[in-house]
Symmetry: C2
Subunit: 358 residues, 2 copies
């Protein structure tokens, strides 16, 4: 198979972790006889520094021309603490999501048995958890009109959804539920928000096309609670952009660490694969970041963008073997982990490659 | 002290639990020589059934005339599953919050050592946690203009904040932080939302008036994660209406159960005291609901509305003693709890009274 892959390292630890996502893809190509060619582009703070634009035209063109994108991370504290900044790294990420039509963000909560202890939740609460989030990614209050009045005494953001936006992601989520445990939980705030009432109406309609899937509707406040109380009860979770942002970060504690979670953003064209973690500037450049989320993002790319299931499984298997052998990065180590089992980014990435078997 | 207290049981388990909040207030009055007189009013589904209006004028008048309000719960599945319903129970609650100017919702996460085991989080993660949430309650996407187009293909809700709305709740939160561990974490989504950027700007300004309090700004997705990962790191958490709704429900798992959490809504006039749990129609009328959140809401009323600190402490102490003696309702029992230690609503309420000592 011949594919062009664009690597966008982005900001902070993005560079370090995508290095390993890329190396894993190279290894897969070698071992399975595929031809993956790689290009690189800038985005976020890195791109603002270089060009003044968080998503330079060149990056967008390369993105559109590629078969899949492996992205690192975005953001910088400099902008976070300056509420009046006009240009921000995150605008690059939001714009590329919109331009590529990446309306469905899949966030699987993959639980490795070896990491049951790394979580703040009790192992018996976690064991057996297997959730696949479908977060809508190109609508909601993220993209609605923003306003600020002249004397800075008022600000607003429009939360909104179009029927077709809910329909298309609902279908994707229901399709996935069919291949899993046939349960779908749609999360909204329909007791307060008109947007959520439309969301619920549309999901109720689409549900009729999938009589074999059991549908539940849950309010976001309750869902945020249930996710900690009893994560096992969820199978596929379907939700809007903002609620999905919050719930999936919360759910990262199920997997032990943010450093473990990969995501796939798909839609009309080129797919976009990225860890759900941020740029973590506090540890950037120190060989401390966990490369597993980037490596698992590469696995999602193989599976979802290229349909290479065996290759994807081989990658996930190598990650599992690495964890089974006791190797950890700092974020997934616990009090009992021996110091010489705690590895840096590069050593951890190399370990995974050493466990890789076709 | 002479006070008029309005009881609004509301829907579902509201009636059962407020019975005990009220009895506790009566006991306090007796033992401490106060004169509390009680009136009752309807709201929510109950009020819709009786009058067609979720907040009848009579209820609002009684509320305005009272010194404090003890509220039960609101909501009914009937409306939840009908996205097109025009009249909803929740409108009653939202309207009374607005009409009484209850802009600050205080939600203390009170951790009883005896309930460390009732949580899905590890005891060592929980121990020592003590968080006070300040949730803004009369602004945000809850009250912004809603729209729906004629052919039902589009819906929207306006998220918005005025500067003065952020200022007044920020001051209340900072004042509280001063009397506690002097740390305040303001939660927003300033990397995406204009509303959040105004929020952050204003909090940064108010922070200057409180140089003795350490301020941190955190994104909502990160906060939802940190709350599960390491709840001890929080002292006072200040946030907007929607984010506060989500975070405090999530945080209920720290206290072991939603059935344990009380809240105080304060502002320009009469204070409003209520459990954070919902109407739980599935267990309503079965003598199963946990009355402790209502009892602890009564304690908050004594403390915050009436300045009766000793009385409030005596109530909280009686709750602690009840738990220490091993008594539990179903929601806070665990696998090891002996069956004869699990009580119904009424038996649990009576136990608390039996432990009450001036
Ligand atoms: C960086 C930020 C804009 C982004 C989001 O909120 O979507 C991130 O938190 C994510 O979840 O991908
Ligand atoms: C019932 C609902 C409108 C309400 C809210 O969202 O504010 C509830 O969840 C709460 O937290 O008090």
């Amino acid at each position: 198979m011949k594919k062009n892959i664009l690597i966008i390292p982005g900001d902070g630890i993005g560079q370090e972790v995508t290095t390993w996502g890329k190396q894993v893809l190279e290894t897969v190509a070698q071992q399975y006889g595929h031809e993956f060619s790689f290009d690189e582009a800038i985005m976020g703070h890195t791109a603002i520094e270089a060009t003044g634009n968080p998503l330079p035209d060149e990056t967008l063109e390369k993105a559109k021309a590629s078969d899949a994108i492996l992205f690192g991370a975005i953001g910088h504290a400099k902008y976070d603490n300056d509420p009046s900044a006009k240009v921000r790294p995150e605008q690059g990420l939001l714009k590329i999501r919109k331009e590529l039509g990446l309306y469905a963000n899949l966030r699987p909560i993959l639980l490795f048995d070896e990491l049951l202890d790394a979580s703040s939740l009790k192992p018996e609460v976690l064991r057996g958890t297997d959730i696949l989030f479908f977060r809508e990614l190109t609508g909601d209050v993220y993209f609605g009109e923003k306003s600020r009045n002249e004397d800075n005494t008022f600000a607003s953001d429009l939360m909104n959804y179009h029927r077709y936006e809910v329909e298309r992601i609902a279908r994707k989520a229901y399709d996935a539920a069919r291949t899993r445990n046939k349960r779908l939980c749609s999360v909204d705030k329909a007791n307060v928000l008109e947007t959520s009432r439309l969301w619920r109406e549309v999901v109720q309609e689409i549900a009729k096309e999938y009589p074999d899937v059991e549908t539940e509707h849950m309010f976001i406040d309750n869902a945020a609670m249930q996710l900690v109380k009893n994560p096992k009860k969820f199978d596929v979770v379907l939700t809007a952009n903002l609620f999905g942002d919050i719930l999936t970060d919360e759910a990262s504690q199920i997997a032990g660490s943010m450093g473990m979670l990969a995501s796939a953003s798909i839609g009309d064209g080129t797919g976009f694969f990225e860890p759900i973690h941020g740029s973590a500037h506090d540890i950037a450049g120190q060989n401390k970041a966990n490369p597993l989320a980037s490596i698992l993002s590469a696995a999602l790319m193989l599976d979802i963008a290229f349909g290479l299931q065996a290759e994807a499984k081989a990658v996930t298997h190598a990650v599992a073997e690495t964890l089974k052998a006791g190797w950890r990065t700092g974020d997934i180590a616990n009090a009992e982990t021996a110091a010489d089992k705690i590895l840096g980014t590069n050593e951890m990435g190399a370990k995974v490659l050493s466990f890789f078997k076709k």
